[in-house]
């Protein structure tokens, strides 16, 4: 869809961007706070949840939900993610466009007001968050971490990052730890909230139909944000170019399927270091159904249902994940490394290269069709305020040659292998 993107600085390390398209029938607004990833991750991770639970104006979850229901089921999203060695706290709201209002209400602006209300006017009791709500949110976050431990695929990936980046901040889970969450106090959380408003880099994003007056929404945000003392802090992500030797960790769990995760260093000095070539290389290796890992490890060798690679640009690493019979561990590991060797030697075709470029191009072009996808596209670039369009990446990828991919593969070194061995019998044959 045709859209326009606009971006303004509206204060110290505070940015406001809008995406507008005539064709949008829904809208999405978000506020992202980026802070350095640290051993205080747990307390910060609680902030999006405590803020979206209630506010001064909507003091209980029921009253807030009722308000959202009257806004035609607008949905609030609270999210915590990691971009390199920064933690991003994001609060968002998604709604339908004003034209569908049954009584001509301004749904989108009202949704933004609710979102800002939640962020800047929390329900304080004697100057702090409500102690009962804090306790409740601590339990919920700890249970969310628990659910990620129950989901063995997520668990294995988290463990790999933890082990591989033990000496780096990146090894910290975006939600912190259960112990960290349990030790949070009401005062501590209140103080952390105030610190976020002061020190975070802030990006406000509104993606909506062209008819929505986003200028008013910007003014509204600035009114809510008035009085926030600002002293932004920034953290640069550490890039480790090469692995020195391979760390191997194995754990067991009473599950049927084993989970193998392999972590590689990509030879990057920073996020722009030969990025396009590395991105395409990771895709040819294991990013789509035409890739080496899918074709060989799954289709030819029948070792798994999934085996794929993913590049994490913001840290310069690549992860390969697969679910296998535990006794096939060596076979799978060797097969994965063999496929990487093949790329290093140039044993892939121009067609494979084209297939990766085309699939990335096709996927990137589709970003423009929904406000949510565009919101996420631009807001994940807040680390460097770069705000490139999908087309900019497509053009970058187009220039990548076979030699570039071979070079990129030769920069890759295996750093860590994590194996979660299943001790249960698989389903009987």
């Amino acid at each position: 869809m045709k859209y326009t993107f606009d971006f303004k600085n509206i204060g110290e390390a505070t940015e406001f961007c809008t995406v507008k398209a005539e064709g949008f029938k829904t809208a999405c607004a978000s506020v992202s706070f980026m802070i350095p990833l640290s051993d205080e991750a747990s307390v910060f991770a609680l902030i999006p949840n405590i803020l979206t639970r209630s506010s001064e104006k909507y003091p209980t979850v029921t009253l807030l939900e009722k308000k959202l229901a009257t806004l035609y089921g607008a949905e609030i999203l609270a999210d915590v993610s990691k971009i390199g060695e920064n933690q991003v706290l994001k609060l968002a709201i998604a709604s339908i466009d004003d034209r569908f209002a049954l009584d001509n209400e301004s749904i989108v602006t009202e949704c933004c007001r609710v979102l800002f209300e939640l962020i800047f006017k929390p329900k304080f009791v004697n100057g702090t968050f409500d102690a009962d709500e804090v306790e409740s949110e601590k339990r919920l976050l700890a249970e969310q971490l628990g659910a990620e431990m129950s989901d063995k695929r997520a668990y294995a990936k988290n463990r790999l990052e933890e082990i591989m980046c033990e000496e780096e901040l990146y090894g910290i889970n975006r939600l912190g730890t259960v112990e960290g969450i349990n030790s949070v106090t009401t005062e501590g959380l209140t103080e952390a909230y105030k610190r976020v408003l002061k020190t975070a880099k802030i990006l406000v994003s509104v993606s909506a139909n062209g008819s929505i007056e986003t200028e008013n929404i910007k003014t509204l945000f600035m009114e809510y944000a008035t009085g926030c003392e600002r002293k932004p802090e920034k953290q640069e992500t550490l890039y480790v170019e090469n692995a020195e030797d391979v760390t191997y960790v194995k754990e067991t769990a009473p599950v049927k399927q084993g989970k193998l995760v392999m972590g590689f260093r990509m030879g990057m000095k920073d996020r722009n270091d030969d990025y396009a070539a590395k991105r395409i290389m990771s895709d040819v290796f294991g990013g789509n159904p035409n890739s080496k890992l899918f074709k060989v490890v799954r289709e030819e060798m029948s070792l798994c249902y999934y085996c794929s690679s993913r590049m994490i640009r913001a840290k310069g690493i690549m992860l390969v994940q697969s679910g296998i019979e535990s006794f096939n561990e060596e076979k799978a590991k060797n097969a994965i490394l063999d496929q990487l060797e093949e790329i290093k030697k140039g044993n892939f075709t121009e067609e494979d290269l084209e297939a990766s470029k085309k699939s990335l191009e096709d996927a990137f072009k589709g970003v423009s069709d929904s406000p949510e996808a565009l919101d996420s596209w631009f807001t994940t670039q807040l680390e460097h305020s770069e705000y490139l369009y999908p087309e900019d990446y497509i053009n970058m990828f187009k220039k990548v040659t076979k030699e570039d991919v071979i070079r990129a593969a030769n920069d890759v070194t295996l750093d860590t292998v994590f194996m979660l061995e299943g001790t249960e019998e698989g389903d009987e044959e």
């Binding site: 869809m1 029938k25 029921t62 249902y305 929904s370």
Partner: protein
């Protein structure tokens, strides 16, 4: 060709009875970059006993055959479908559910080539004993993966506690044992029965015109004699099997699933009943309900809690699921709340709140090409139209929902399934 539109939504689509015997839907979204196409058959995991209208005998096939066939259809004597899509850049996939199998792609360019690939590979099966054999390892791993997923296991345990015979209780992918019995011949038998164009539907949504679609369909689809399928479900007793089912897996917080078996005169529920039940579920325990807050505040549920009216051919279950340290207590509180509602009813305000929420959700659904295209196929298989849900939501009343409530949520047909942590 018929144009079906909704003025309020300002949306519309073409419904085409193609000369080949296939029902085709085209939903143009002219501003969009993407186009999404889905080619589906009304054949899912519950179809384990059936016969073609022109045959005498019923065939009984192993559990998981529909899903197995889905995997194998991607193969051909030459390039498999994934390799063909690799030349265009489309993102392609397929899925099998309880009652359908669908093949799809999403693209922002080369629509014509992609669409040709889709029609071609779905209509050209290629199964050999050797390739069937090879797939067993891959699907075996898919089965193991699901057997480790607490939510999935919990749902199927609930279904097994509820249904004596209905095949909704069997895992969509089957078991390693059942899939080891699948042969190439069986796949052909199933294919010949269910992949007849009269049992299928094709929907395309996005940057596309009906003319483009019809031109390619004209070229690639050969007219097929209509085949009807007779399905034979075993008689299902009105009772449940077990009111409580428990299993242990490697997990942290216990997972639960509470369902109420419904017995109906007809096998399928109307869209109005489905929406009515969904609104009821939201009033009882949705996020804007008092019960939700009570459960949350007392530490009994977390964000994973959800409600759903789970239904299909021959099964219908209002369902509550999530994680809890005390699932039995949650079940008890839900049950009490339902009794109270049955006795005292609910307020007009409670009703309006959930209705508005569902209205907004439905409007939002018309912006996603994948939701639209899949919705077209599903509504066709249900003999409905895509805008029915929207229309029903405008007309539905609190009184209608109250009538529904009185005849469902029967306490003695409730099944609670719990997956507890395995001690290490």
């Amino acid at each position: 060709m018929e144009y079906i539109k909704n003025d309020i939504l300002d949306e519309g689509y073409y419904s085409i009875d193609h000369k080949s015997g296939l029902k085709i839907f085209v939903y143009p979204k002219k501003d969009y970059a993407s186009t999404y196409a889905v080619f589906g058959t009304k054949y899912g995991s519950i179809d384990t006993r059936f016969k073609r209208s022109d045959k005498d005998e019923f065939i009984e096939i192993p559990e998981g055959t529909a899903h197995f066939l889905e995997h194998k259809l991607f193969e051909s004597e030459e390039l498999d479908a994934f390799q063909r899509y690799a030349k265009t850049g489309a993102s392609a996939n397929a899925y099998t559910s309880f009652d359908r199998t669908c093949y799809l792609f999403n693209c922002t360019g080369h629509f014509k080539e992609n669409f040709e690939i889709l029609l071609d590979f779905v209509k050209h099966p290629y199964f050999t004993e050797e390739t069937v054999q090879k797939e067993q390892g891959i699907i075996g791993q898919e089965i193991d993966m699901y057997k480790d997923l607490p939510d999935w296991v919990c749902l199927f345990n609930m279904l097994s506690g509820m249904y004596h015979n209905h095949p909704v209780k069997i895992d969509i992918a089957g078991t390693k044992h059942s899939i080891s019995q699948i042969t190439a011949k069986m796949l052909f038998d199933c294919y010949d029965t269910f992949y007849n164009l009269s049992n299928m539907a094709l929907a395309v949504a996005g940057n596309v015109t009906p003319e483009e679609v019809i031109e390619i369909a004209d070229r690639l689809l050969i007219k097929e004699e209509k085949v009807t399928v007779e399905r034979a479900f075993k008689e299902e007793p009105k009772t449940i099997v077990n009111q409580y089912v428990e299993e242990k897996l490697a997990l942290v917080t216990p997972v639960f699933c509470l369902g109420y078996k419904e017995n109906h005169e007809t096998p399928e529920r109307t869209i109005k009943e489905t929406i009515g039940k969904s609104l009821l579920l939201d009033m009882v325990a949705g996020q804007s309900s008092d019960l939700y807050k009570e459960l949350l505040d007392s530490g009994l549920i977390n964000d994973s809690f959800s409600v759903e009216y789970f239904n299909g051919h021959g099964y219908a279950i209002p369902m509550f699921s999530g994680e809890s340290l005390d699932p039995k207590k949650v079940a008890k509180l839900i049950d009490e709340r339902i009794s109270r509602y049955k006795e005292k009813g609910f307020t007009q305000e409670e009703f309006e709140i959930v209705r508005k929420k569902h209205y907004g959700k439905t409007v939002r659904a018309f912006t996603e090409v994948d939701t639209i295209a899949n919705g077209l196929v599903v509504s066709h298989f249900d003999n409905d139209n895509l805008f029915s849900e929207f229309t029903v939501l405008q007309e539905i009343t609190a009184e209608y929902c109250y009538e529904l409530l009185k005849n469902s949520f029967s306490k003695d047909l409730a099944v609670l399934s719990v997956v507890n942590p395995k001690e290490l």
